[in-house]
């Protein structure tokens, strides 16, 4: 009898979701320990075991699989606390990392500084070597330049090295020669070699990704070693899998080799969860709406899957590894409201968790969205988390009066309502901008809501977007941990093969795909996945001659085996037309990359069906300013525990639970689905 546990380490809380083999489940929440996240996890597991009427050893003995979303790599980049890294690159190009292809993100901001490079210039050292554009070795590695660099690295305490040579994506000979030298010269250094990590054309993308990998490698290695040994000591004999930015999980051993693939580990869990909740309700297209204290994360689900992008900028650092397509904006419960030039602004600045909203009474002196929600009556004044966090309505009212109401000559309640309206439109705009950018129409999407503040703000946002289905998981607070449990094993491979489609050497393409598939099979086999649970997705990155962006075209293994290029060509034209509104039937098509995703299915899990509990009656009522109304009115409050499957409630009403409260505005109704989740629609 083996259990599975999903563990998601967030900024404030570490969430646990334990699934038993009969699909029953338990959840648990503990504070994150920032120094070593493993400590918090072990403490959490210990406390969790108590609730399960056993001890840590007893619990871990029953757990066969731990799936883990971690921010260890994320935080090391955000705080600049990664490994002391050295870069070896082709002579003449050591500044490409810092130049970032010349992009300045804010054109009008004179004082906006460039991000500090992860490796300072004196540790970015030239190697005399050169490959031509076609991969031919023009100059072999000059050992003296590598020796000299390693001497400096040793003297400077470098523990991680990135090796990235120009045009090495198709021929790793020089990089391998260099790596062997570094291996022998720099004992125990963590080394990343660009053509092994990302054999893809595009020097800056590959360089930045390779550097980030070495920068975070020792950090993730240390963390996972600490966690593994603690788990082992306490009786864990199962498998530890780590969530990747792509939305798939991999073994801890693989994760340590490609830490750059885990910088988006956190939001990825949310995207996978969104994918499953949307699917259960028959939606192929959805956006997640995860509104926490400081930020709102929005991820896209299309064709029933969390959409991924192949290139993303993480904290202004380029990572060219698959990442779920998620945007984050500064909008959350802690977003600050202020009046400037006679206009009301809300966010992106935030009161964060310290000092937090004024109503928390921890020193917050400025009005936030949470203060507005409280004054409008959306939040129970008795306090959050069943009264564990008491709330000060008078403080909320006072700061709204001082910083908004008095400046605009309106009442505190009007000020609160204005704050609520502004943040709603800001958030709706963020969702809209992401979807438009990708050519999607929001009206075809469902909104999957998570985070503490999400369920109080979701409906006005949906209304602004023309969205007519809002799905709120019963326990929205363990949303991301659930996503980790749902995730499959996934390995992404890419190999550049630059050719026009007309001159394509099919045998070479087949050989590339065979090689990628063999590596995928080996990786999955090492993780104990039987061939029956393995599947492979093939695609080609293609573009018209002289374009600079590529389109990823899914292909089948049969098409490759049969050499069915006509069909692939047609598909590219069609996808180009769908994405960009035109195609050029006469133009030459270029192939850039071959891609393969190897997927290993993990045992499926979905929440058990809920029972019916009959018609609920309200547990009370409260005076509330509903969205769109300027008078306070009494509305019914329901206890979430009393809502069984199939219950329907008409707005206006509030549903209050331990961690999640849902606002049903007038004109909307709520239904409890088979699994106890809330689904809201407008009254038609």
């Amino acid at each position: 009898v083996k259990y599975r546990v999903g563990i998601d380490v967030g900024g404030t809380f570490t969430d646990f979701l334990l699934v038993r083999d009969d699909s029953s489940f338990s959840t648990f929440k503990t504070f994150t320990t920032t120094q070593d996240q493993a400590i918090g996890i072990m403490e959490g597991l210990r406390a969790f075991a108590e609730g399960e009427k056993t001890d840590l050893r007893g619990l871990l003995g029953r757990i066969g699989l731990i799936l883990h979303g971690t921010t260890a790599t994320t935080n090391s980049v955000l705080t600049g606390s990664g490994a002391r890294t050295g870069l070896l690159t082709t002579k003449g190009f050591r500044d490409a990392l810092e130049m970032r292809r010349g992009v300045k993100e804010r054109i009008y901001d004179n004082k906006y500084p460039a991000p500090p490079p992860l490796v300072p210039r004196y540790r970015r050292l030239p190697v005399s070597e050169r490959l031509a554009y076609n991969g031919v070795v023009v100059e072999e590695v000059d050992p003296a330049s590598v020796e000299e660099a390693c001497k400096l690295f040793r003297a400077d305490g470098v523990t991680a090295v990135a090796i990235c040579f120009l045009n090495a994506y198709g021929n790793g000979a020089n990089e391998i020669a260099c790596k062997q030298m570094v291996d022998s010269l720099l004992d125990g250094a963590y080394i990343t070699v660009s053509h092994e990590l990302l054999p893809r054309v595009g020097f800056y993308d590959r360089l930045s990704t390779t550097v980030l990998n070495s920068y975070t490698g020792p950090i993730l290695a240390r963390y996972l070693a600490s966690l593994s040994s603690k788990l082992k000591e306490s009786g864990f004999g199962g498998t530890l899998l780590v969530m990747q930015s792509s939305g798939g999980v991999v073994s801890a051993e693989t994760a340590v080799r490609t830490p750059a693939a885990a910088v988006g580990s956190g939001p990825a869990g949310g995207a996978i969860a969104g994918e499953r909740y949307a699917k259960v309700h028959g939606y192929q297209k959805a956006v997640t709406f995860d509104m926490g204290g400081t930020s709102l994360d929005v991820a896209r689900i299309v064709d029933g899957r969390a959409a991924t992008v192949q290139i993303a900028d993480f904290d202004r650092y380029r990572v060219a590894l698959p990442m779920v397509d998620v945007v984050s904006i500064g909008a959350g419960g802690g977003s600050l409201a202020r009046v400037a030039g006679g206009l009301l602004h809300v966010g992106p600045e935030s009161a964060g968790s310290q000092p937090g909203p004024a109503c928390y009474g921890r020193g917050g002196k400025l009005p936030t969205v949470t203060d507005a929600d409280l004054l409008l009556g959306y939040i129970n004044p008795a306090g959050l988390l069943g009264g564990r966090v008491p709330l000060d309505v008078a403080a909320a009212s006072a700061v709204l009066k001082q910083h908004v109401a008095d400046l605009l000559g309106i009442s505190e309640e009007q000020a609160a309502a204005a704050v609520y309206d502004v943040i709603s439109v800001n958030m709706a705009t963020a969702v809209k901008d992401l979807l438009y950018e990708r050519g999607d129409d929001p009206r075809e999407f469902a909104l999957v809501v998570a985070g503490g503040a999400g369920p109080l703000h979701a409906v006005p946002v949906a209304a602004e977007l023309g969205i007519t289905t809002v799905i709120i998981p019963r326990d929205a607070s363990i949303f991301t941990a659930a996503g980790v449990i749902f995730a499959d094993l996934r390995h992404d491979f890419v190999q550049t093969y630059f050719s026009t489609l007309d001159q394509l050497d099919l045998d070479r393409l087949r050989a590339i795909f065979n090689d990628l598939a063999a590596r995928g099979r080996a990786a999955l086999a090492a993780e104990g996945i039987d061939s029956g649970d393995q599947s492979f997705e093939y695609s080609l990155d293609m573009r018209y001659d002289r374009q600079i962006f590529e389109i990823q075209v899914p292909v089948s293994s049969d098409q490759i085996a049969n050499g069915d290029l006509a069909e692939i060509r047609q598909r590219f034209h069609r996808l180009h037309n769908e994405s960009y509104g035109y195609d050029l039937p006469e133009a030459h098509i270029e192939l850039i990359n071959a891609r393969l995703v190897a997927v290993g299915r993990t045992p499926p899990f979905w929440f058990p069906e809920q029972e019916e509990r009959g018609r609920p009656s309200p547990i009370g009522s409260r005076g509330v300013f509903l969205p769109g109304s300027d008078t306070r009115e009494q509305i019914a409050i329901f206890d979430s525990d009393a809502l069984g499957r199939g219950v329907k409630l008409d707005g206006p009403a509030l549903v209050e639970g331990r961690a999640t409260s849902v606002l049903i505005p007038r004109g909307w109704w709520l239904e409890v689905d088979t699994y106890g989740n809330y689904v809201l629609h407008p009254v038609s």
């Binding site: 500044d95 810092e98 292809r101 030039g341 309502a417 439109v425 705009t429």
Partner: protein, 587 residues
Amino acid sequence: VEKRVSPLAARVAIFRTRLKSFAREMVVGIQRTARSPLKNQAYDFGVVIMDPQGGMMEADEFRALFPFAIHPGCRNVVATFGEEIYPGDVFMHNDVFGGNLQPNDAGVYVPIFVGDELVAWTGAKGHMADLGGPVPSSCNPTATDYFQESLRIPAVKVYERGKLRRDVWNLIFSNVRLPEIDGPDMMTMIGACRLGERRIGELAKSMGVASFRQLVAALYDSTETMMRAEIARIPDGSYLGESHFHFDGIREGKQTIRLRLTVSGDEMDLDYTGTSPQSQSYCNAPYGSATAGTMTFLSMLVDPLLPHNEGMFRPLRLTMPEGSLMNPRPPAATYYGNFMSAVNAEAIMQAFSQAVPERVTAGWTRPMSLQVIAWDPRRERWYADIDFIALKGGSGATDGSDGWNNGPIFGVSTLTNDYEFFELQDPHTLLLHEFKRDSSGSGKWRGGNGAITRWRFDGSSATLVLQGEPEGGFGLFGGLPGTENVFTLHFPDGSSYRPKSKEVIRLPIPAGTIVERHSGGGGGFGNPLERPASKVAEDLRNGLISPEKAQNDYGVVADPGTLAVDAEGTSRLRARRGARSPAKEKA
């Protein structure tokens, strides 16, 4: 959310967010559907929403200059057509003597009606692949009047009441070289404007025309309030800023852009009287380009969150004297005008530096751009490319921040080609692209470093067109200037050639020629002796400055071998030189 009569401050904020989102949607539509790489890759276009009079209401601002350069053309359309503007009309325009910024940037305008009331306009403008004239691409550095540049399109109606006017359309597209690219691109911009028309029309209709107008007025008023508050922070006074360039493509000689800035209370007067008369070459900034440049750089000197609309202009008075470099009369050639915004920027920074020293930047490297048209023997075809790798330079330092190393130059933030694609696409081999040591202007805050780019030409039959300015960035408040842009061709026979800053290079360029460009450095800000020695040590260690420069400019003594800073020697030297500025000492 609509029903509640929320306080005006919230309604205006929400209104503006919606307008911004409409503009974004229009931009995305153009990016996704345009054919020309100038639009779908280099994103060389802009989108603006305007009021019935052609006043600027909102813009999408991913690229400098365009946001402030679309509404003047709309005013020209309104002035030309007056009462003859109907629902379903579409106007086209590229007239630099009617508000446009560059002859190659053609705009379209769509009026938005609710019933028969004109409530707003949408406009889009982009750099066209070709708009006729004697030279393919319509960029002609030898032009001496606009007839030698491209087709001049005054305000014309291409659709009337929803119906395409074939006569007008065909007249235009019979006179351009790439109608198969430019025609659909124009349609794309019209499509985007019509999308905006639909969105804004729906919004105005749902809230009522009166409310819509009230919100527009309130948006302008609140922006005006913010702008006035920003100006009020600037000390009253009269400040002079001047900048120069020294070669107009035909003649050597100093040309001046002169700005007299007068601040009084919460109003500001920007007067360019005293600027040199218009040139005989293509170095002229038409009114649209000149004002767009001025507004762009002004936006860098006020709160970056200030909305950009008519309200921002109200406390300003802008005088661009007719017949000058900054507002030439017909038949001036004007293609180079947008490049001149970098020169204008310097006059603005010089003037404001006397009033609000903490907000300005020292000088940025001026732009210098190379176009290559040549034969590719690998692929057996002609190709044309712009050398984006070299279109960068050091930016100027500012109080509290060093300049960006080899970053964007004023008003231009193009993406550099990736090295590997550069070698795959064109018969070019990149040899070097690295920061240039000692190129930055020294200062308490130092300017950005320039870079050296060197690549080998492996093709044949090349024509190279160089356009730009040699100057690096000037220093401010004791900061020193950065180094210059230098462009050199090294031929396989060992000889080399240094062209003028604006030149169509007609020499034979054999395969194996090495193209070398040193981009200039940004200017420093403040006395270099006040730069913390630890920061100088960091630049030394990173090889960005030499021990000689550390000593001469910064008074920091370092061991030339180990680069270790001698703390005692440094304080002694700095104490000795403390009273004198390094600039004087140099002289």
